[in-house]
């Protein structure tokens, strides 16, 4: 059996945490972009596309993230493409994130009074211009808090990618736990790692919300 010092543990877990952070950022940024498109499809003046976007959201919200990940991982493999775990993890989490963000943002868009759309429309702004110039700037303000709140869920959600073998924080932790026979210590450090990633996000969310509240314009 190899000997691990506490520093070895921390160094290894740090690498895992970096992967967790990278995966979270990727999922959040790409999920945000895809989510914006899904949002447009969901609230735009196109009935067919509305239904399609709604189905997309319902499917991703109504199934466990783990199953989505399995389907991406094994689905792509079924098509004869050998997909690395990190790619499957990134794709799976991006889709998951996009669906949730689209739904969160839809709520924010729908909280803007209908009169705002109508005033913009009466000024001959196209639908896209109405959304961009009038609706989104107002929706953004109320979207900040739930969006940042959800980002914490994304970070924690990355843990399930350990099951398809992606060596992020949880996976690294389970490997080390097996090697050291000190699961309590290792998983304690893993939990601390997640906390260190998530706590600043929560704090940041709270601060952003206060800023947006104070600055009413």
């Amino acid at each position: 059996m190899m000997e691990f010092s506490i520093w070895d543990l921390i160094r290894n877990l740090g690498v895992g945490a970096a992967w967790t952070l990278g995966l979270s950022l990727t999922a959040f940024v790409l999920g945000g972009v895809v989510g914006l498109l899904v949002l447009a499809a969901r609230v735009g003046p196109w009935p067919r596309l509305n239904r399609l976007a709604k189905a997309y959201i319902v499917v991703f919200q109504g199934t466990p993230l783990l199953m989505q990940l399995f389907l991406v991982f094994f689905g792509i493999a079924l098509a004869g493409v050998d997909v690395p775990a990190w790619l499957a993890a990134a794709i799976g989490l991006t889709l998951f994130t996009s669906a949730y963000l689209a739904e969160i943002w839809r709520g924010c868009v729908e909280a803007i009074p209908k009169g705002q759309w109508e005033a913009a429309a009466s000024l001959a702004l196209s639908w896209g211009e109405q959304l961009r110039e009038v609706i989104l700037p107002q929706a953004l303000r109320i979207a900040v808090a739930p969006t940042m709140g959800f980002s914490v869920q994304v970070v924690k959600g990355t843990a399930v990618t350990s099951i398809i073998g992606f060596a992020e924080l949880t996976k690294t932790g389970s490997i080390l736990a097996n090697a050291t026979f000190q699961p309590f210590l290792v998983y304690g450090l893993v939990a601390l790692g997640y906390f260190l990633l998530c706590f600043p996000l929560s704090r940041f969310a709270a601060r952003l919300e206060r800023t947006f509240h104070a600055r009413s314009h």
């Binding site: 003046p45 009074p113 009169g115 705002q116 109508e118 005033a119 913009a120 429309a121 009466s122 000024l123 001959a124 702004l125 196209s126 211009e129 110039e133 009038v134 700037p137 107002q138 303000r141 009413s216 314009h217």
Partner: protein, 241 residues
């Protein structure tokens, strides 16, 4: 004719709200739409700029035609301005930016030009000094005048006003009516839904009384007020005083 409406029909589900409306409005004319709640005044007005679709008939403004289920409304909306009961100013933009938004976005006028246009429009409604204020810093009457300036900045051929003083405290009604009166005297074509009967009689050239989705009676406001031809209009005028 600047505005022509022919055989306009509109249903909300099973509710037949407009039952064949015909209306002609000449350039520079001021039309007052009156009638009981639910008679279809707002629906008619909103059909003229495509905020409401209709089932049958035709709307034409300055040669720009709108058919039932038409989706491209830009050309029409460039000719038609609208002022709403609830003002609907954009709360995230300053007063000046509210007025500049459409010229900037839709007409792609330069910022400098938009700004001088906005200042001119705000001066017209007596709010030149509010350029940098935000909507929530203004009284209701001031907000409504900004809304008028915002609509005017697109240089519409006709301005639609849907009960634009109904949400105002009584002491603020007159400043908005004065602005509308001034527009009328400058030759702006106006179609307004109003419950201000005295104002309608004084300012309008054509009074249109709607009843159950139809134009029940219309004509010169002086004549109609003095001698309504139908029992319904007489009853309506009696009820509102």
């Amino acid at each position: 004719m600047l505005v022509r409406i022919d055989g306009l029909h509109k249903h909300f589900g099973a509710n037949h709200v407009l039952k064949g409306i015909d209306l002609r409005v000449k350039e520079g004319e001021v039309v007052a739409l009156i009638g009981r709640s639910g008679s279809g005044k707002s629906t008619l007005l909103r059909s003229i700029n495509g905020l409401e679709t209709f089932d049958d008939g035709l709307v034409e403004v300055d040669g720009e035609r709108l058919h039932a289920d038409q989706t491209d409304l830009r050309a029409l909306r460039l000719k038609v301005g609208m002022v709403f009961q609830q003002f609907n100013l954009f709360p995230h933009l300053s007063v000046g930016r509210n007025v500049m938004l459409a010229p900037r976005t839709v007409r792609q006028t330069s910022v400098a030009e938009c700004e001088s246009l906005a200042r001119a429009m705000l001066a017209k409604v007596g709010l030149a000094d509010k350029f940098d204020a935000y909507p929530d810093q203004l009284s209701g009457g001031q907000q409504q005048r900004v809304a008028i300036a915002r609509a005017l900045a697109m240089q519409p051929k006709v301005l639609l006003c849907d009960e634009i003083t109904s949400a105002l405290d009584p002491e603020l009604v007159n400043e908005v009516l004065a602005t509308v009166r001034q527009l009328a005297s400058e030759g702006m074509t106006l179609i307004m839904v109003t419950h201000e009967m005295r104002f309608a009689r004084e300012v309008s050239d054509q009074l249109v009384f709607m009843h159950q989705g139809r134009v029940h009676e219309s004509g010169d406001p002086k004549d109609l007020f003095a001698a309504p031809q139908t029992a319904e209009l007489a009853a309506f005028l009696g009820a509102v005083g």
